[in-house]
Every structure is written in C-alpha cells, then in structure tokens.
Symmetry: C2
Subunit: 287 residues, 2 copies
C-alpha cells in the first residue's frame, strides 16, 4: 500500500511521523473521508469546503489552495494502489504538525502534517438491500462536532458498542434528542414526515446529507430539519443512516427493536436509488 505523507508517496511501512506530532499528542487535526468511484473523487468541493472550515476553526495554517491541491494527490494515491477500476475510500488528515508539547499553538514555522491514504471499498449490497441494525449510545463528544476533528473517542466508543452488538452503527443521543450516528447522519420518517437534525455545532455537516437534501428537493419530498426526539426514534416508520462509505443504508432494527415493518421503507428506498444514480452517474460522466 502506497500512502501520501508530507509531499511524498511512500510504502505504508515508511509512513512515519514524529511521536511529538500534535495529532498524536492532542488530537490536533482535521480529517476528511472521500468516496472515489472509477478513480474520481465524488463531491470533492463540499469535502474541501468542510475541511477548510474545520482547519480555519482550529486555525491550522493550511490554505484552501493547499486543500484543493489534495484532489490530485487523492487521484494519484488511488492510481498508485491500483484502485482506479472500482471504488475506494480516501482518508485525508492535516494535523498542526510536530513540535515540543505546549497546549497553545507552536510557532508559525511548524508545518502541518499532511496524510492521504486509499483503501478498496466493497459496497455491502446485501446490507443496503435488507437494512442494517443499530444500537443507541450517549453522545459524549465535545461541542464543535461541525468541525471534522480527530478528537474521536466518543465516536470510537460508540462504534465499538455497535460492533460488540453485531450492529452496523451507533445512533447517538443527547438531552433527549437524536444527534447523528457515530460515523453517519441519521434520517427518520416520523408521522409520515422525513426528519433530520438541523446543521448546528451539534452534528457534522455530512456531504452525503447535503446531496440527499438536494435530491429530496428534486423529488419534492419535504424534509423537516428539526431534532428527532430520542423517544420517537423507536416509533419511527423508517430510519436510515448516510455517509461517504455508508451511502444510504436503511436501519431496520435499533437496540433489538424492529423499525417500521422490519424492512427498508419506501421513502428510504426512493432516496437510496436517487443517491446511487447520482453517485454512479457522476463517476460515469467523469470516466
């Protein structure tokens, strides 16, 4: 496996960073996860914009132009790993760099650490067709979840809880409302109405979520962006989670309780089809 690290394309075993990197010492960095189909990045622009927003939030000196230049880096990493024919998941991370440990920022001469890797993505079609199970977990994360930082312990513990239950995702809740999934956004149909948490500092502004909002508008399906009460999650007619590797994945059981009829509901199937058409059409157009 070939990885990109600070300007070089190196084998995995040579992809080393100083132990004093602030990513390791403080979780002081921003990441992105981007879907590639046929060697091209899907929805690069909103990923770049979100990364820019997070880096600006943390005030890491990495410009929008430097972010934009990572699209070509991603394409090359996909090529180097022989992943052009098919689908891949690109992981990008920019940390504040390596410096002697101080909580406050290091001198401006310290350069950010820039890392990109690619892995083959095999879409689990059966799970998409039949739906997945989820657990619920308290949302333990910090208050700026709109920045895609690597302070991810709340997500790690939630996903571990899902893995141990044999579930795909953990749906997070806080103060009696559903925020999002540990690595996804959550949509639910409550009393016939499609609902999802609004874009606030409490959730990540998902790129797939953004595409779905556009597609819902095209399909003339109204979506109410208002928090879903946690108690109503269990009486929802439909639930699905979405994300850059998850696409649209129906949730048919939560904490062992059946959602709706125990199979993907009609609104979920409709938006999944629209999303996949766009995902693979975009790839077809760019090939």
């Amino acid at each position: 496996m070939i990885m990109y690290l600070n300007g070089q394309y190196v084998p995995r075993e040579s992809a080393l960073i100083p132990v004093e990197d602030r990513g390791f010492i403080f979780g002081d960095g921003i990441y992105e996860g981007v879907r590639a189909v046929g060697g091209k990045m899907f929805e690069w622009a909103p990923h770049a914009e979100r990364m820019d927003n997070g880096l600006k939030g943390l005030r890491i000196n990495f410009t929008r132009a430097q972010i934009d230049a990572l699209e070509a880096v991603c394409e090359r990493v996909v090529q180097e790993n022989g992943l052009v024919d098919g689908e891949a998941f690109l992981y990008l991370q920019v940390s504040r760099g390596a410096a002697p440990r101080t909580h406050h920022f290091p001198p401006a001469t310290v350069l950010p650490t820039v890392f990109v890797s690619a892995s083959k993505l095999v879409v689990p079609r059966k799970m998409r067709d039949e739906g997945c199970s989820a657990v619920t977990f308290p949302d333990m994360r910090w208050k700026r979840r709109d920045w895609k930082t690597v302070n991810l312990l709340g997500n790690v513990l939630a996903r571990q809880s899902a893995a141990e239950a044999g579930a795909y995702e953990a749906i997070l809740h806080e103060d009696g409302i559903v925020t999002e999934g540990a690595a996804t956004n959550v949509f639910a149909v409550v009393n016939g109405e499609m609902r999802t948490h609004p874009l606030t500092e409490r959730i990540l502004p998902g790129v797939t979520r953004k595409v779905l909002m556009e597609l819902f508008a095209d399909l003339k399906v109204p979506v109410r962006e208002e928090p879903i009460p946690f108690a109503q999650l269990f009486s929802a007619e439909e639930v699905f989670v979405c994300g850059s590797t998850t696409d649209v994945t129906p949730v048919v059981s939560i904490d062992g309780k059946t959602v709706g009829k125990g199979k993907p509901g009609p609104m979920t199937v409709q938006i999944r089809e629209a999303f996949e058409a766009r995902l693979y059409q975009a790839a077809g157009a760019s090939r």
Copy 2:
C-alpha cells in the same frame, strides 16, 4: 534529547510512529504528566492509578503492572537527559496502537504505543510569588474529562486564548459553573470558604488537587467540594490553580479584572507553602 518509545531509548529525531497510530487518527490514548524532583517521580502512585483508570475506561490493553514498570522508565529518561539534578516534567502516553483505520477497536494482536519523554522544568518563582493572570473560556470538552485522554482540542483552544491574552491559564466554565482550568484544577475562596469542583466526570481528578486536599485536612482548613458559580468567580476573595507543573499558582486577575486585593491571598499562600514543603521534602527524602 532521548525519548522512550516502545521499549527503546532513542534520540528525538528517531522517535517515529506509524501515521496510522490510533493516537494520531482518533486521539485514542491516555497520557500522564508527572513531576520529577532530583530524579524521582513525585506522587507516582496516584498518577499510575489515574492512568490505569483511563486505560480501563478506554479498554486499552495495558495492565497496571505495565504502568508500574513505567516509573523506572521515567527515571531512566530523566537520567539519559541529564535532568537528575533539578526538576523535570515527565510526559507519558499510551495509545491503542497502529492499525488500519476502523472506528471500533482493532484486533487484540495490535499492541499499544508507549511513549515517555522528559523536559527540564524551571519553576517560575516570580509568577508563584506575585500571582498570574487568567482568562475565562467556555468548556467545550467531551463528557469523560475524568479520563486523561489526548482528545484535548478543547484544552488547546482555551490555552491558546490565554496565551494570546498574555495570561497563564484559561478557566473553563459550562452551564454557569466553573469546571477547571485548561491544564489545572481551580480553587477559589468564596465568602471565606475554600471551594473547588467535586470529583465527577466533568473534571480531571488532579494529583496536585488530591495532595492539596490532604494538606488542607492537615491544616484544618475545610474545603467545600461543590461547583463554583461562574458569576461568583469574579467576586472571589482568592483564586488559585494547581497542577503537576503549576503546583499552586495564585490567580490575581481574571479577564482583566482584579481578584481580591490583586495579590496572592493568605489561604493561597498557606497552601502553597505546605505543598512546596511536601514536594521538596519528598525529593529530599528520596535523594
């Protein structure tokens, strides 16, 4: 500078970790900061106990016996760096190790990454005598602050805000109460009564705080462990912060407003003297 990394004592420039270390990717690790005087660790046992508690909380496979063995590692790192004569700050970190990225835990065959470094500590006596200034900052951190994890962005941003204001520390507040400092615990004298936040998941159980509670008991000074209302912070007669490099440091101004008489108050001076006596006596006894 010589550092300890995964069983080896190596120069700083050779202290490298895989970029896929979960410390870098998720902030998935626990750290400690220990004070050394005359080559000996001050209050090792409670540091080891806190580290054990955090590692158990995150379920990182690193036993109490392995933690205990790090005391000798710390002593050797101090020696290797010529810091036996004087004071040093030991930094210890154990991450869940390097593995291909999954939110959930990697297989048990993945070994934790273990890192120890030492730096010379020069006590800023003038600041201790005259007191420091502090700013206030919203507490943005996640919900398990009792575990000393490297998910530290809330602390980093707070300390940066202090540094930009020319202040030593940022005092964090949330829901109208003072939690702690960005890298310290906070005590205040309110209406003649010594107060500090109780040991809950909202704050770090400071080792210096623990020693101070013992010393206050010896001195027959009652301490009320109940959150200090944020509004009362500004009318407190005395405020001080404490920690393993901070010891007892009086706070004489907050957000530019004078605390008490603008100089270290009598209860702060008393506990500072008692603490320093114990710190240097312990070192003297072990030399």
